[in-house]
Amino acid sequence: MAAASISEAARRRRQIERTLYLAPSIAFLLIFIVLPYLAVFRMSFNTFSPMRLFVESFTFDNYVGVLSDPYYYSLIFRTLLLGTTVTLATLVLGLPLALKIAASGRRMKSLLMALVLSPLLINLVVRTYAWLVVLGDKGLINEFLLGTDLAASPIRLTGSFFSVWLGLTHITLPLMVLSLVGVLEKLDRRVFEAATSLGAGEWFILRRVTLPLVMPGIGAGALLVFCFTVSAFITPALLGGSRVGTVSTVIFEKFTYSMNWPVGSALVFVLLIINMGVIWLHGRIFGEHA
């Protein structure tokens, strides 16, 4: 009896100690993530007032407003479309690249990895401006088209869904490639030799062995790229301008120019729910593989 209570006390002490180790990170999360979110959450139930910024209240009007306005529909739809198409593009571009990297020798591998990662070494704003330099009315492409008389006047490439898509694909490609390479590198080379000796050609192996085995990497990469894309702000803001808004850029606009904090806050939670929905979907699809 005495022994049991001693060990009980020891166990409790260990538990307290363990909680203490976690205290700094829990405090950090609480202060810098949970509290702001709670504040924004509260704000999303207030009422917008042009004169007084907002009026303390408790109403679902902001959510109802956002979810019943075709403008916001198309905004959310465009954001989801952007997330999906960028994810697909990084997958289509990233998979061959990742396969090549995983199959390369040591020196070729580090060279390719450096190339893939190089965009991450440059500031996001600078990278996005680089696209403006390429795509702008006086940019490289238009200079070329005008110079060779292929076009009479500059073609508008920026401020379009395409330019935002292009910029985000470029920026998120490393995330996809890294996820895929991480998984590919860990696969047993002998499994591929076994497939080959059983008579499988390259396409057969890709379809029946490589793709199924790299699925967890595809899932992780897709999750990263999708969430990054739908939450991205700088790239859609600079490359899309006011005409191609996404949920993120409109949130920014609500909090700054139009000062409509309650609706902006409601949109923050719409975006959060989209991301959580995608994470849930990822868990449903890839949960077993993990």
């Binding site: 002998r190 499994v191 030799e193 076994a194 080959t196 000796s197 050609g201 057969f204 085995l213």
Partner: protein, 353 residues
Amino acid sequence: MITARGGLELKDVHLRYGDAHALRGISLRVDPGEFVALLGPSGCGKTTLLRSVAGFAHPQSGHIYIGSKDVVSVPPRERNIGLVFQSYALFPHLTALENVCFGLETRGVNVAAARSRANAALELVGLTGFHGRRPIQLSGGQQQRVALARAIVIEPDILLLDEPLAALDRQLRVQMQTELKSLQRKLGVTTVFVTHDQEEALAMADRIVVMRDGRIEQVAPPMQLFAEPSNAWVGEFVGAGNILSGEIVVDDLGPTIMVAPNWRIRLPNGAKPDAGKALFVRAEKIGLRAPLDGECTLRVLAHRFLGVHIEVHLDFSGGTLRALLPPEKAALYPPNSHVAAVIDPGDCRLLTR
């Protein structure tokens, strides 16, 4: 199910990995339906040889024939070889049945036929009732059987096995040795089996190929290899052989080898005395008795209990010896006692060092 379609022949195969010379002129014939074991110490090139036959390693020179066809320039997927890896290399995302079906799928066999052939193969290797399991849900021995079924279901011309039993515990290994051997007999498929467990090689193979440092030292049936090693290294490597060296001295009864100042052993009949040669005698052929005056004595260093026998380690001025004795005999000569060794010239062979 399978009738031997052809043998395997390697002619002067050389393979270099940069500076490392992994295969230095390998020539070997394996007859149709024969079971050959590659035996040799770690790093001697066994896996490299197997991978060259499978097409995953690329010799710089030489020829490899499967049947009568030189396959050196044939890509691995067209060689029709059944491969079993030490790590099994099963497809982790496929079930046991799907793993076995894989090689039939690539050959365009329709699903129903593939399934029934795969089922038959799984039954043949003694694995029924596990069809729907993924590799991770199978034990090591079960995975081994799936790997074997996957390799034989395609009716390969050659079956190559790289230490397929090394990961199993001893009891299961011995059982699998017997099963694998009888399966190979039944199928009649030409088989090359890599191992560095010489008991395994002796128990299973029709012939054993002893490799060392990228070369073949000897090719012989197990009994012959055991009785007549072609050189001193093979004698020591295969089974507990003793190598005794010394000056050849000819007296009025014929040539002897002086293994210690006061110990000469007569050479076996017909042996040509020759410098650079050593006397080979198997451990179980050495007898022990109490030493006489002036005779070369050996000190007992240690006993090693091996089950049926005790290996007695001995030490004398000319080197060391190992003798294999029944326990009651060995008990007469405890560690640190002094004994004399009795060696019958008829049990000795004179081998090149």
